[in-house]
């Protein structure tokens, strides 16, 4: 009996009893064109790696966006650049988020995360292709923004392979990226 219990314990230890991570070819994502004042005419794949994490947000967001970016950043902060996945932030508020504002924001709080500002047309197509919902309400001089808070795991060309929920912590995010690398032999 005791032996059986030990075997069961070992089995649980080996398989970690964790949730199985399944990667899917979502009909989401795109190798979008970067149309900001610095990188115009270039595309996502000029910057991406074999595995990437993409987050859509805005720099004046107090809670949701810095929370997502902190988790993305913390998951890989101790890794060398070579081992880090591509980490990207795309603004959904191009009217207020200038190129300089995005880059100052990321450099100060989340070094290593690359930021993009897409021009209106490119932004509309990209958001649609990623399935990112955005609601911008302007009232009494205040701008309230509602948006999807997923972190998208993509391949080199921006095709979405996994949706990371906003509540997942940095340890879980790291595990998902490692599992993707293992599955794809990256």
């Amino acid at each position: 009996m005791k032996k059986k219990l030990v075997y069961i314990f070992l089995l649980f230890t080996v398989f970690d009893c964790g949730e199985t991570i399944v990667f899917t070819d979502y009909p989401l994502g795109t190798n979008f064109t970067i149309s900001d004042e610095v990188f115009s005419t270039r595309s996502f794949s000029d910057f991406s790696k074999g595995v990437n994490l993409v987050f859509f947000g805005f720099t004046s967001c107090p809670d949701i966006c810095p929370m997502g970016l902190t988790r993305m950043y913390n998951a890989f902060k101790d890794d060398t650049a070579e081992f880090k996945p591509g980490l990207f932030f795309i603004t959904i508020d191009p009217e207020r988020d200038t190129y300089t504002k995005i880059h100052t924001y990321l450099k100060f709080a989340f070094p290593g995360i690359q930021g993009f500002r897409l021009e209106k047309k490119s932004a509309e197509t990209t958001l649609k292709k990623f399935g990112v919902g955005v609601n911008i309400n302007k009232k009494n001089g205040k701008t309230d923004i509602e948006h999807s808070s997923y972190i998208f795991l993509t391949d080199k060309t921006g095709n979405v392979k996994y949706l990371i929920k906003s509540g997942m912590n940095s340890g879980q995010i790291r595990k998902i990226v490692q599992a993707y690398r293992k599955e794809k032999g990256l």
């Binding site: 609601n135 808070s149 509540g167």
Partner: protein, 160 residues
């Protein structure tokens, strides 16, 4: 010579254990009075980026119910009690009414939930520094306003 047999030894150990448990009750019974601010943090932000956030746990041990009306600080006049919500797959943030904290209760302002938005900050909030914040309450028994000032560290919340 006096020796303890196994029964008296067990009795002595039990007695000691009871004294220990009783002391523990005494210690926890003498919990800190007043308003206790814990796990407080302000997110590091540059002045030019403008928006930061304050998280904390606030325990009301004052003996009376309180209402948190707002927070004031020297580095911004734009402070709002906020909450993060999800509606039809979209996440957003909105201002909330003053928060009632009953005597003995703890209210949590944490990532992804209630938080304090600090916008239009007038200086860089650098990691490791400390800022003074005044919490304004309404004492629900006396209807008087009470102010409590705390120093809060500029840092990333531990749970992230």
């Amino acid at each position: 010579m006096f020796t303890l047999n196994k029964y008296t030894r067990a009795y002595a150990i039990m007695k000691l254990f009871k004294i220990l448990i009783f002391s523990l009750f005494l210690v926890t019974g003498c919990a800190e009075k007043g308003i206790i601010l814990q796990s407080a943090s302000i997110r590091p932000t540059l002045k030019e980026n403008g928006t930061s956030v304050l998280y904390f746990e606030l325990k009301n041990n004052t003996g009376t119910d309180l209402r948190l009306l707002g927070i004031t600080t020297l580095f911004t006049t734009k402070v709002e009690l906020h909450e993060t919500y999800e509606k039809e797959g979209l996440a957003g943030m909105r201002a909330i009414e003053p928060v009632v904290i009953k005597n003995g209760e703890t209210v949590l302002f944490q990532p992804g939930a209630k938080h304090v938005m600090l916008s239009e900050i007038n200086k860089d909030l650098v990691k490791g520094s400390e800022e003074e914040l005044t919490f304004n309450f309404e004492n629900l028994a006396t209807k008087q306003t009470e102010r409590h000032t705390f120093k809060v560290r500029v840092t990333i919340p531990a749970e992230l």
